[in-house]
Structure formats: structure tokens, C-alpha cells
Amino acid sequence: MITAGVDVGSTATKAVVFDGSVLGEALLPTGWNPWEAGLQALGSALQQAGVAQGDLRAVVGTGYGRVSLPFIDRKATEVACHARGARFLIPPTRLVIDIGGQDSKIIALNAEGSVIDFLMNDKCAAGTGRFLQAVTGVLDLSLDDLGELALGCQPAPVSSMCAVFAESEVIGLLSRGVSKGAIAAGVIESIARRIQSLARRMPPADEITFSGGLAKNRAVCLRLSEALGRPLQVPESPQMVGALGAALIGFYG
């Protein structure tokens, strides 16, 4: 049996083709048309896998765009998919931290891997990928550069978590002559503190898996791990965890 998972996020659309292991995967920007992005991602993942769409037993959709996908057999929430994907890649996982383009979520799992509780940020993009993106714009840095620059710097205090207000706060810091590195470290620090306070509302867990695009950023991982006082497990392709989880739900039910 072959299944596929399509995760249409606010920033990136991901697809995974699965037959017991990953046969193909694809990632592309969502753009303005979630339907088109989902179809294209599925198409390239199928191409990589060398599988025809007709051979798929089930296509499961997830992500914000899940409601607008006409080609899926069923949908599942990102909460369920991230839990399944993380558990498949790192079996002991008891807590999943996912920082996506427009939301962040913390998912608690029991020993059997079922979701027992979850928390998400509000409708605003506070402390998410979009928040960091706004800051990289002001600092004229790529996300990777921001991380590298932050390493080893004393964080400047950044109190606003709001993607809009943080931008003006960062401009204020720059005008006072604070270094880019300190600002970068400060922004990452504020994300780590935000996630820390969410995680403290969940049952304590030692086995933490970090997924979503921000997990690729070394400085974010380090600071978050320090804040939580635990090592973080990061899957090889942290952005694909949701799409993989969707494919797993199609495969195993």
C-alpha cells in the first residue's frame, strides 16, 4: 500500500509519499493559492517516488489549507499529524514542539503515543516563524545568518512578541546602537521564553521533539533546549513531520 500526506501550511506546503518508509517528499512555498500549492507538492513528491497518483490508496490533508484541498480522501489536524510524525521518527517522544509559519504548538503524548493535551498560540503570529521573518527583514539578514550571528552574543532585551511591534522595537534598538548579534540573540531569547511558558503548562516530559522550519536553526535549538533544561530531538527534515504524519494516518489508519 502507498499513501500520501499533504501539509498546506501558511508559509510552506509539504508532501510525503509513504509505503512503510518515505518514498518521496517535496516542499514549496504556499503562495496565494493553497489548492494549487498542495497539488504541485503532491505532484513532485510522487515524481520523486516514481509513483502514479492513481496508485495511492489514500491522500490525507493537513495544515491551514486542508479545508481547500479537493483531491484528498480525508483530513486530520496538524496536532494529530505532528504527533504521529514525531512519534514515527523518534519513538520515545512525549512532547512535540512545533514552530510553524503562523502558529506554534505544544503537544503532549502519553506513553502509547496518543495526544492527551495541546496548547497553541493565539491568532496573532507572536513568536512564530513569521515573527522571526519580520525581524530578519529589519536586520537585512537571512534566517540562517540571524542564527549564526546570535550564537555567543549577550541577548538584548526584546519584550514584544508581536510580529508588528517587535519590528518597531528592533528599529529602536538599532537606533540606540545595539549590535545586530545582540538583537538576533534577543529575538531568539524571546521565542524561547514564550515556548518555555507554554511548555510549563503541559505535563513534564523528558523526550522532547522539535519540529517545524525553525528547528533547522541551530541557535534557536540551543537556546530553547537551555530554556527547557532538556535536550531536544530534531528530526532530519523537521518541516516534513506534519506531512509524514498525514501519510502515516492514511497508511495505518
Binding site: 491551514y64 486530520a76 489536524t77 496536532v79 496518543s114 497553541m120 491568532k123
Partner: protein, 389 residues
């Protein structure tokens, strides 16, 4: 739902606007209320018509924000906006408003609202226990009685109070009978339809009419239950909704729960189960009214253990699979209390709990849908589904 009785319910609000006009023309005074703490018995005993005022729609909020801060709770902004834009017919026809100092936002808003209509503000104690609070509240009831007598040139006699208590208790019994039908699994009525009944009944000018309507609806639903009919499939997750007041227009979360495959079987909130307890008949009417109203488990009270116990009891009686605690943005009392309620329930047993914080706008609909869907997924995966606490 498709039924002649239910269609009567759906047009109740529109029909009663006309009736209200007639009442005014024949000289029956109209008293508008916002909150469950307004003692309807006194208003009825004064020969006036108590009606609920609008405050559950997003529409008048932009107008309200010309005066009120944006980060205030939507219920306060909506109530104020309806009044200042003259878009609530019930406000328009009201001769007097009765309001209470429940929360900080409301009491300061009422100061501004009193520029538009005569408003009687009842000073509500913040604690339910003790002679001090009881005596204080009783004095406030006497002060309201005097105001009603003076405004409407009537005498509120013991006998009139007894009659009013009897009438309103009959309405509460009829309401409870209707609500209790949802203990059936699966429930015979959707949460959205039930909310329509709860919302519209408040606008009904004639209490005997609304009692009769609820009794007929109950009879009809009983027949449906006997015939094994339900809008839900067996196994549909059963949700108890607690928290802030909801109505038609502020029904987003109820609608989402049912769109995502759940069934709202119990509203613990103001318009529903909180209002079911009776006023004791037989004793001193003013004292009985004082006691019953002060016991309402609203988050403006501290402590408010009564709400925790009520939620726990209702979750058991209605076989709820999960509890959703709804908080409006800016409602500090329900927002802070949510943590305490969650902890209380965790200590009592295992029932999944989700707090949802939102306002009347549609801007976060998809984010909420995700949260509610994920919550329902958890409920469906639980082996103990259908058994709680």
C-alpha cells in the same frame, strides 16, 4: 430542526418587537436587563415586562469602540454599541434599565450608558457567603423595589411577589425539562438549535407564552427520543460548554464544535443551566429572591467554587466526553478562573478540557476550528469515551 414548534421559536424575537410596541401603547412599562443577576421577580411584580437586551452581535462593536477601549470584552462593547446606535428594539422600547456591578468593564460602561436611558445600578457583593453579603444584597433588592414602585407608580405587595416567584419558577422548570432531554445519548437537538431557544426566549414579552412553547418543544423532542431519532450519530463526542454568556451572533464556538463533528449537550453558561435553580416559595419573598440570586455561580464572585461543582455535576449527568471553557477576550474573571477550573477537574478525574479565548469577530475562525478539531480527535481516540469522572 424542522418542526412547527421550533419555527415558532425562531420568529420569537421578531414577533416580540411588535408585541413590545403594543405593550408600550397600552401603558405596560418595559424593563431591560443584561444579566442573570437582575431579579425578574421584582420587575414582574411591578407589573412591568422584563426583556433581555441585545449584546451578542459583532455589528455595533465598531460604533462602541469610538468610546470604549478596543481591548474590552466584546459583550460589553456590543451591549453599549447596540444602545448608542439605537439598533436594539428592546433597548429602544425600555422605560428603565436594571444593571449590576458584576465586573469592572460593565460597571464603568453602565456609567456611560445611563446617559441614554434611566438606569438602575444594583451594587452586587463580590462574595456569596456570610451575613454581610446577604444583608447588603437584600438592601439592594429593597432599593430596586423602591425604584420600581416610584418609577411606575405601583405598590409591590407580598402577594404580587409570591405570584411572580411562582410564574418564574414555572418557567425555570420548563427550561430545565427541556435542557435535561439532552442527557439522552445521542442528544435529540443540536446545540445550535438549543441555543436559539435559550437566546430567543429572553425576548418574549409574555412568560406564559414562552412556558407553553418550551413545554410543547419538550413534548415533541420526547417523541423523537421515543422514536430513536437524533440529529447525531451514536458515538458523537458530547461537549459541555461552560464560561462566558453566549447567544445567537456570538455562537461561533458552538457552531464550530458541531461543524467539526461534536454535539453540545449542555450549556452551563448564564442563559442555561446557571438559571435553573428555583426561588424558594413560601417564606419571605424578598429574602428568598436575595438568596437565590446571590448563589448564582458567576466568575465575578470570589471564591466561586459553586461553578466548579456545577460543571463537575453536569459533566457527569450529561455524560460529557469533554469540557470546553469559552472566554471572551478581556473577560479577566472567566479567563483567570479557567486555570482553576481545569486544575479542579484534573484533580477530580479524567475529563479532557479545552479553554478557547476569542471574541465575536470571524477573524480567528480557522485557528479555532483547528483547536476544536484536534480536541475532538483526542476525545474520539479515548477508550473511555462516554464515561467521565
Amino acid at each position: 430542526m424542522e418542526s412547527a414548534v421550533f419555527s415558532e421559536v425562531t420568529i420569537l424575537r421578531e414577533r416580540n418587537v411588535l408585541k413590545l410596541k403594543e405593550m408600550r401603547e397600552i401603558g405596560r412599562p418595559v424593563v431591560g436587563t443584561y444579566c442573570l443577576y437582575s431579579p425578574a421577580e421584582l420587575i414582574v411584580a411591578a407589573g412591568a415586562v422584563p426583556v433581555c437586551l441585545c449584546g451578542t452581535s459583532q455589528n455595533p462593536i465598531p460604533a462602541a469602540e469610538q468610546v470604549l477601549p478596543r481591548n474590552l470584552c466584546p459583550l460589553i462593547k456590543s451591549s453599549y454599541g447596540f444602545a448608542t446606535t439605537d439598533t436594539c428594539p428592546f433597548f429602544h422600547f425600555a422605560d428603565l434599565l436594571v444593571a449590576e456591578t458584576t465586573c469592572d468593564g460593565k460597571k464603568k460602561m453602565y456609567e456611560l450608558l445611563s446617559e441614554y436611558k434611566p438606569l438602575h445600578l444594583m451594587q452586587l457583593p463580590q462574595v456569596q457567603e456570610g451575613e454581610g453579603a446577604r444583608g447588603y444584597w437584600l438592601q439592594e433588592l429593597y432599593r430596586l423595589r423602591d425604584r420600581l414602585e416610584e418609577t411606575f407608580k405601583v405598590e409591590i405587595t407580598q402577594e404580587k411577589l409570591h405570584d411572580a416567584i411562582g410564574l418564574l419558577n414555572t418557567e425555570r422548570r420548563a427550561l430545565k425539562d427541556l435542557l435535561d432531554l439532552c442527557k439522552t445519548n445521542p442528544s435529540p437537538i443540536t446545540g445550535m438549535d438549543l441555543l436559539t431557544v435559550l437566546h430567543n426566549r429572553g425576548f418574549c414579552v409574555d412568560k406564559t407564552e414562552v412556558i407553553d412553547l418550551m413545554e410543547r418543544l419538550t413534548a415533541e423532542l420526547r417523541q423523537q427520543i421515543a422514536a430513536g431519532e437524533s440529529p447525531f450519530r451514536p458515538g458523537t463526542p458530547r461537549i459541555l460548554l461552560t464560561g462566558v454568556p453566549v447567544g445567537i451572533g456570538s455562537d461561533k464556538v458552538v457552531r464550530l464544535i458541531e461543524e467539526c463533528g461534536g454535539s453540545v449537550v449542555c450549556f452551563e453558561s448564564c442563559g442555561a443551566y446557571k438559571t435553573v435553580p428555583l426561588v424558594e416559595e413560601g417564606g419571605d419573598p424578598m429574602e428568598a429572591i436575595a438568596e437565590r440570586y446571590l448563589a448564582l455561580p458567576c466568575s465575578c464572585m470570589s471564591p466561586n467554587r459553586g461553578r466548579f461543582e456545577l460543571v463537575e455535576r453536569l459533566a457527569m449527568e450529561f455524560q460529557a466526553d469533554g469540557i470546553i471553557d469559552l472566554t471572551w477576550h478581556g473577560c479577566h474573571t472567566y479567563n483567570v478562573e479557567s486555570y482553576s477550573l481545569k486544575r479542579y477537574l484534573e484533580n477530580r478525574g479524567e475529563i479532557p478540557f479545552l479553554q478557547v479565548e476569542t471574541d465575536y469577530s470571524e477573524s480567528d475562525t480557522e485557528q479555532l476550528r483547528l483547536r476544536i478539531e484536534a480536541f475532538l480527535e483526542i476525545l474520539l481516540l479515548r477508550p473511555t469515551s462516554g464515561r467521565v469522572l
